[in-house]
């Protein structure tokens, strides 16, 4: 939950400002590239604001926006044979709402704390990958590991971070 308590009923402008980053982030998570995420974010708000709807709570609104965004995303990908299915995307929503249901800010803050706990090669690998945007091969060279080793290290580290964040968000 964002720290400030928001008056439940927002004007369209407030609604857009308040939720647009989260919708965009969600679409990126679902697999949109940045440009697609821009477009689908816009479509989502246009569709949602087209008709009046009851703003029961911030969380309910966020969940509703995610549902619309998800349907838009599916419609966008319907032509692709190997794209995610409705069932996949339903799972994606489950994962999202469980992990980040309390609010993305809290999730990201917890991730900050968890990153502090990372040390050594795991930390270095994460920095190289996500801060410096280095390829797996470059990381392998730098850390004197095999590419598969880097892949495993990154995946395990992300796993550990995920568990750490879950603990913190839950606590």
């Amino acid at each position: 939950m964002s720290t400030a308590t928001i008056e439940a009923r927002l004007t369209p402008a407030e609604l857009v400002r308040h939720h647009q980053a989260a919708v965009w982030r969600y679409l990126r998570y679902l697999g949109c590239d940045a440009a697609q995420a821009d477009d689908v974010t816009q479509e989502t708000f246009l569709a949602v604001l087209e008709k009046p709807f009851e703003q029961r709570s911030e969380a309910a609104t966020a969940a509703y926006l995610r549902t619309v965004a998800r349907n838009r995303f599916l419609a966008l990908l319907r032509r692709e044979k190997n794209g995610p299915t409705a069932a996949d995307v339903a799972i994606a929503e489950e994962v999202w709402s469980q992990a980040a249901g309390a609010g993305e800010d809290e999730y990201l803050d917890s991730l900050d704390d968890c990153l502090m706990e990372l040390t050594g090669r795991a930390r270095r690998a994460i920095e190289l990958r996500y801060r410096d945007d280095r390829s797996r091969r470059e990381i392998a060279a730098e850390l004197e590991m095999t590419e598969d080793g880097v892949k495993t290290l990154l995946r395990r580290t992300r796993d550990a971070l995920r568990r750490c964040v879950e603990r913190r968000v839950g606590a």
Binding site: L108, Y130, R167, G170, A171
Partner: protein
Amino acid sequence: MTNPRRDYEDRLIETALREKFGGARPPDLSERVLAALAGNDVKPAAAAKERRFTLRAVALIAVSACLLLAVALGSWELSPEQVVHEERAVGDVAINWAGSHQALPPNYRTSLEVELAALTRHAAAVDAERRRRSESPQLLVTPRIAHIAEAEAQSAYQVPVEENAAARYDAHVSERYAETDLPQVQAVVSQAALADQAKFDALGKAYKSERPQFNAERAEMLRHKILNLRQDRGQGPGEGGDQYARIVENPFLRTLESPLSTFSIDVDTASYAKVRMYLLQQGMLPPPDAVRIEELVNYFDYDYDGPEDEHPFAAHLEAAECPWNPTHRLVRIALKGREIEKERPGSNLVFLLDVSGSMDQPNKLPLVKAGMKMLVRQLSENDRVAIVVYAGAAGLVLSSTPGSEQATILEAIDRLHAGGSTNGGEGIRLAYQTALDHFLEGGVNRVILCTDGDFNVGVTSTGELTRLAEEQAKAGVFLSVLGFGMGNHNDAMLEELSGKANGNYAFIDTESEARKVLVEQMAGTLVTIAKDVKIQVEFNPAEVAAYRLLGYENRILAAEDFNDDKKDAGEIGAGHTVTALYEIVPAKASGGREPPDDAALPASPAVDDLKYQSERKLTKNADSGELLTLKLRYKKPDADTSTLMTRPLADAGGRFSAASRDFQFAAAVAAFGMILRGSQHHGTATLDVVEEIAASAKEPDRFGYRAEFLELVKAARRLRGG
């Protein structure tokens, strides 16, 4: 096999890392979105009305959107007749969409053809629009059309477009995409395309009403595809997702080869509540393995007579024509536990609550708390309550407190909040220890586990926990399992845990379900009147060619287990009813009908004759005309040896319509379960038949459960696109 859940979990953390480290922060799209909104004069959403789709309105908007576009372009000539025709066609689609097929006019196909032609022209119009826009790029936003697409996306689970139309449409859209590179143009095209898609889908639905055969097949195929997809979610421990053990349906068995059918009773009702949650709250069909037919049937109150002899429960048998296969008979075994006449014995209850982070959802911990409060208000000074929570660490938040100290208990419940991960193993030990420390001789000693799913930290193999629960049940502390919420619910484990621990397993999705389980059925839920109740039926081969037990798949016992008092089985609570149904293939003509010949038997093929043994000979009892003999074994709650009851059944050959209402209702519920499970044995049963039977056998319906069942049937029909 990949696990989509883990992939998404990984992707979530990856997205966050990209944002934290890589600066992949969301852009500020507010101005862009607001500009687009302003350009389209969207009314503020302040008049908060419940958001509901009015189909006709959508259809009309669709028409006006198409017409506006056409007029704007000036490239679409419509005669007034065509406009009328057009409008009617879309209106028809809307009617059809709403589910009333009868409203279609006889010349429908013609208007359908007009629609198709219009769509093709519409596509040409979009192309022209695209060309125009690409000359002066400017964002055209059509939220009204977008809204139709939204409707279409929401109906993604329903039968999609008729095949050829879909293929044509796809080819045509990808072609258009191929030659488009400006993102703004893409936005235009994609929205117009989405509107197209919505119309195509509506047309697909129209086709469906016209060609029921084609669509029934296609719908069935799609349904299976979707169900298979859903089944892939959460299949084993640690996999996440709701987890259900696979159910392999009981087959028909030949009486000559397998004269005995043995199983343990089951008074669980969790499956029904889960099915209801899928159908009414999630708006999807349940995965087949979430449907346990016996739990559906046993969810309802039946008006069976209680015992008048020394036994703790009464057993009744009834036979009638099988409603989904008129040459077969349906036999019902009905048990009714004795009601407690006097005061309820004192209860020593220990709530074991999962307060892990995942419980922090409106349908979980708050519902647990509401349910606990309802139960606590029923307690008196003879009762004791303790609360143990488990999350990161297990702890006793309320030591055993007399039921008369309501304020203390309610306050402790109010203080509960969710947070941390789960260590079920430690919690369950502490709970049992607390129950043993305050053991009530001659009373009810019970641990009530409330959880949303898995025990996911610590010493937690299912086997180990089940053994612990089993040991404690022998020591006199029983276990009730109350499941909450969806998402990571380990149905299979919870059912096994409660089954082994002389317990019951209920799934609580609403406050009224909490009231049903914890207040109305409190005596039954808490007070066990017989345990290890086993049923064995011996069929008479002179009367019964083959039989099939409906449900109870995971309760089947070996024939020799029946007399083995060391083998445990289900318990029955005060006032509980238990119902089991057998579908029977008669060996003789009955009710003026010929018996099916051997080749037509639905059972598996006969095995060869044995080389060293000859077949059993019929006894003189085989001529008695009895269909079967029911044998029951049970133990008193504190006894170690079992008591035997037997009841024979002769079939009077009654028709289904002459059967008791409870019989008819139970048959309808079982048929509903078979349909949801996609059973091959459902015969002529359809949701319409289920509804008809259930509606006629609805009364008495003291708490409205049967009326609710009818709602479930209707929801299932909607979801299957029927």
